[in-house]
Amino acid sequence: MAFQLEQVKYKDILKIDKLQIPEAKITCIIGESGSGKTTLLRLLNNLISPDEGSIFYKGRNIEDIDPIQLRREVVMLPQNPTVFSGSVKDNLLIGLEFAEKDKVRDEVLSEILRLAQLDKPLSTIASTLSGGEKQRLALARIVLLEPEVVLLDEPTSALDEGTEERVIESVVEFAKEKTRTLIMVVHSKSIAQRFADVAVTIQGGGVVAEEGL
C-alpha cells in the first residue's frame, strides 16, 4: 500500500475511518466540491496534519517522516497552479531547485512540455500563459521531478475536453511506464472510469465508496 488512513479526522472537513491507496496504481478521487477531496490530498502531502488518527506512507506514520523528504517523494499539484516569476524554463527548473535535484538539459525540458501538451517555447514568460497553459506548465514541472507519488488536484479543470483527455492520458502513461503511484482528484466519473484502477468517492468528508475498476 502507498497510503493507509486510520480514523483520520481533520476539523469538520474530513472524517475517514479507513482508506487504503494502492502503490503503483492510478487512484481517482471523486466527489462534489466541498466534500474534502483537496483536504485529503493536502493530508497525504503533509501540508496539514490530521487532528486525530494516523496516516501511513509505505507502512510508516507520516508524522515520523521528515516532511521535506516526504514531499519530495509525494509531490502535490494544487488546483490553482502555482506560477513563479520568470520564463517557462525558470518555472520548470525551480521545481528541481526546490527538491535539490540537478538541473537538466533544455531538450529534456522541451520533451516534458510536449508530454504535458504545452506547445510553448521555453523562453515564454510564464505569467503571459492562459489558465489552462499554466496548469499544464505546473503539471510538467511535477512530471520532471519523477516523484514516487503524484498527487493531482483537478489537474485539468481549466482545459477543454479534448485537451483534458490528452493531458490525463500522458500523465497516466508516464505513471504506468515508471510504475509510479498516481492519485488524482477528478471532476467527472467518466474520466475515473476510463483511467483509474481504483476510484474513491468522497461525500461530506467521508469515504462512501471504494471500488476497483
Binding site: N45, N46, L47, I48, S49, E63, P67, I68, Q69, R71, R72, V75, M76, L77, P78, N80, P81, T82, F84, G95, E97, F98, A99, E100, R141, I142, L145
Partner: protein
C-alpha cells in the same frame, strides 16, 4: 576656530509663538477645523522638549555610566512600543518578541562597533555622544523594522499560495519564503540608501546642520555625518535582517507547514 552658538533668549523664543499664531489665523480664515490639533501639538512639543532638555542637561552633567545606559534602554523600549503601534496587522506573541529582540540586537551590535571602533570616545559612555547618536540609530532602525515587518506579514498573507506551492514540491520553508524575505529586507533598507543619495545636495542632514550651527568646522561635521550614515545603514540592515530571517520562521510549524493566524 570654534565659536559658541548664540543662545535664544526667553522672550525671543516667545516671539516664535507668533509664527504659530499666524498659522492659526490662516486656519481660522480658511475655516479648516484643525486649530485644536495644532494647539495640542504645539503644547505637547513645548512641554516634551522642555522636560527632555532638563533631563538631558542633568544626564550630560552627571557623566554616569548607568544613566547613559538607562537612557538608551528607555529609547529602545519606546521604539519597540512605537513599532507595535504602527504595524496595523495582527502579530503573534512570538513575532512581537522577535521584533523586540531584533531591535535590541541589531542596534546594540552597531552601537558597540560605532562607539568603540569608529568614534572611540573616552569614556565610552560619554552621554554627549552616546545619547544623541544612539537615538539616531534607534530611530532609523525603528522605521526600518516597521517597514520590513509590515512587508513580511503582508507577504505571507498575500503569497500564501506561492509558498504552499513551493512546499508541495519539496522546498524547505527557508527556500519557500526566500523571495518574501528578500523583498521585505529591500523595502526596509531602500529609504536609507535613497537618503544617502540626496545627502549634501538636496538637503543638509540635521546632525550636520546642528554641528555647523554650534560652530563645528564643516569638514568635521561632514565626517560625523558620514560615520553616522554608515552606522545607520548597518543598524537598519542588521535589525531588519534579524527580523525577517527569524520572523519568517514563525510562519511555519515543526512539520514545515505554513501556519497563518488571523
Amino acid at each position: 576656530m570654534m565659536m559658541g552658538v548664540v543662545d535664544i533668549g526667553f522672550f525671543n523664543l516667545l516671539a516664535g509663538y507668533v509664527l504659530i499664531l499666524v498659522v492659526l489665523v490662516i486656519l481660522r480664515q480658511r475655516n479648516i477645523k484643525k486649530e485644536t490639533e495644532l494647539l495640542i501639538a504645539v503644547v505637547r512639543m513645548s512641554i516634551q522638549l522642555v522636560l527632555v532638555g532638563y533631563i538631558l542637561d542633568y544626564i550630560l552633567g552627571s557623566q554616569r555610566m548607568w544613566m547613559t545606559l538607562a537612557a538608551v534602554a528607555i529609547m529602545e523600549v519606546f521604539a519597540v512600543q512605537n513599532i507595535y503601534q504602527r504595524i496595523k496587522i495582527d502579530m503573534t506573541p512570538r513575532f512581537r518578541s522577535i521584533v523586540a529582540c531584533s531591535m535590541a540586537f541589531g542596534t546594540i551590535i552597531t552601537m558597540i562597533f560605532f562607539f568603540f571602533v569608529l568614534l572611540s570616545v573616552k569614556p565610552w559612555y560619554s552621554p554627549r555622544y552616546v545619547i544623541p547618536l544612539s537615538g539616531m540609530l534607534i530611530g532609523n532602525s525603528m522605521t526600518g523594522i516597521t517597514l520590513g515587518a509590515e512587508r513580511l506579514l503582508r507577504g505571507f498573507h498575500d503569497k500564501k499560495e506561492l509558498i504552499e506551492g513551493a512546499l508541495m514540491l519539496g522546498a524547505t520553508p527557508e527556500r519557500a519564503s526566500r523571495e518574501i524575505i528578500n523583498e521585505s529586507f529591500t523595502a526596509a533598507i531602500l529609504p536609507t540608501i535613497n537618503s544617502m543619495v540626496g545627502m549634501g545636495i538636496v538637503f543638509l542632514p540635521g546632525m550636520m546642520s546642528g554641528q555647523i550651527l554650534s560652530g563645528v568646522p564643516a569638514v568635521t561635521a561632514i565626517k560625523y555625518q558620514m560615520a553616522i550614515m554608515f552606522a545607520i545603514l548597518a543598524s537598519v540592515a542588521f535589525t531588519v535582517f534579524i527580523l525577517v530571517v527569524w520572523g519568517s520562521k514563525t510562519f511555519f510549524n515543526d512539520r514545515a507547514q505554513l501556519v497563518l493566524y488571523s
